[in-house]
């Protein structure tokens, strides 16, 4: 058995085997995360609103999300009559590209990383901008006014919030002197960067709530005014792909925040993976908490907040950091 495995590894090469194993791991994390988070979101929402949440299927309702996903898988895939077919079909698939690419560079532990690329953070930032593109073509291709409004809003919002997101990560890159995520984590051996850069952390977190389209910045899908925004016309498994991508994006922004500001996989006693997931899910919980605490902002408030407050403050932060580092 061992010999056969070794033979296979020798034939196709170590790098390929590593990549395949890494991608399988990524799929497991993506699916497990989504299944767990749907349950958590409903439980947290329930308790915040003094309800109990799901409790019928399995102990504490733990199997609820499995039941839901089986239901979604079994549903008929409806295609509305007037949709722009290629765009309509492409959107749910395209939204998964950035999700998978981003996972490749996140260091879950000192050794647990699919590939350490020396421009790691640029890979994440570059590919996460694809999300807005798929929202755009999904909303446009649906031939529905609500979808189109959702898509337009999402574009305006993403343009506005990508700038502070980038600018809040730059001081960290200054301090770590590297684009590689592992170097950034290693640079936080002593003190976490959140201690040096509290403003950058706040800006990053606010901007990432907007980038993942979560309440209070969920204008692209605002249920109470736009039905479901850009994915109004999607049903069954296509809808659940959007859903899966949203939950995975929540995990990714939290993981990036942990990597850049909260010391990544570093922590005493427990192994690194445990620390990484604990910190990440703490931030994910904060995102859920936001959703059930803050009301949705108005669109002009949303844009003004980014252009008039977040961007100037993050520029100032960048300037001060650069100045201090050069002294």
């Amino acid at each position: 058995m061992c010999d056969t495995i070794n033979n296979i590894i020798n034939i196709v090469g170590k790098e390929v085997v590593r990549t395949v194993i890494g991608l399988v791991g990524v799929f497991i994390v993506v699916l497990g995360n989504a299944i767990m988070l749907t349950w958590t979101e409903r439980k947290v929402a329930g308790h915040i609103q003094r309800r109990i949440g799901p409790k019928e299927v399995g102990p504490f309702g733990l199997l609820q999300s499995f039941a839901d996903s089986v239901k979604l898988l079994g549903k008929e895939l409806l295609t509305p009559a007037n949709v722009e077919k290629p765009l309509y079909y492409l959107a749910p698939t395209l939204i998964f590209v950035p999700v998978l690419v981003t996972f490749v560079v996140i260091p879950f532990d000192g050794f647990l990383q699919v590939k350490d690329i020396n421009t790691g953070i640029l890979v994440i930032l570059a590919f996460s901008s694809l999300t807005v593109l798929s929202i755009l073509i999904g909303g446009w291709g649906s031939d529905n006014k609500y979808s189109l409004i959702g898509a337009v809003r999402s574009v305006a919002q993403n343009i506005a919030y990508e700038i502070p997101l980038l600018l809040s990560l730059l001081p960290i890159i200054f301090m770590a002197n590297s684009f590689s995520l592992r170097d950034v984590v290693e640079a936080q051996k002593g003190l976490w960067f959140v201690v040096y850069q509290p403003i950058a952390f706040l800006i990053f977190f606010i901007a990432s709530v907007a980038e993942t389209n979560r309440t209070p910045f969920d204008l692209p899908e605002a249920e109470s005014e736009l039905v479901a925004g850009f994915h109004t016309e999607y049903s069954g498994m296509r809808f659940s792909l959007f859903f899966l991508a949203e939950y995975t994006n929540m995990f990714i922004v939290s993981a990036i925040a942990v990597t850049f500001f909260l010391g990544g996989y570093q922590g005493p006693i427990l192994p690194g993976v445990v620390w990484f997931f604990m910190k990440t899910y703490l931030l994910v919980f904060v995102l859920l908490w936001f959703r059930w605490t803050f009301p949705r902002v108005r669109f002009d408030q949303l844009l003004n907040f980014s252009w008039k407050i977040l961007i100037p403050v993050s520029f100032l932060n960048l300037l001060v950091t650069g100045g201090i580092l050069k002294l």
Partner: protein, 167 residues
Amino acid sequence: MIFADIIFVIIILITLGGALMTVLSGSIIYALMGLVTTMFGVAGLYIYLNAPFLAMMQILIYVGAITVLIAFAIMLIGPLYKKPKEWSYPLKFILAAVVALFSFFVFAKVILKTQWIVLSTPFAISTKDIGRLLFDRLTFPFELISLLIVVAIIGAVMLSLYSRGEK
């Protein structure tokens, strides 16, 4: 070496296919998707040339910012996606072809005339080198570009101010 050549051909096909889609598709949103494909192809070329930083910047700026801005502009000017093809008149098509061929020959001439220096060993340019170049040897052109952008911004602001009436 064969493997590298195959990859190169695939990248070139993606780039050219996207470009053709941009020019020939009737619907403006498909043209945009073609543009995105071309940008990805160009980023692939940068990776092929061992410049990952440039490739990532290509995706970040051209796919993430510029095409998204173009998309935003398309959505502001209204539902053009049901409009017929713009170059349906033969005269327009011929004029466009003349301009395209002319610029193609100019570029081809320039490329063929340049004496390219072929390096014997592959080299990698780091982010640090790019920063050094921009802020040291190439500061003057860099600043000139920023001046150009400032002029463009002022022009855009002026245009938007005057189009809102109350001259």
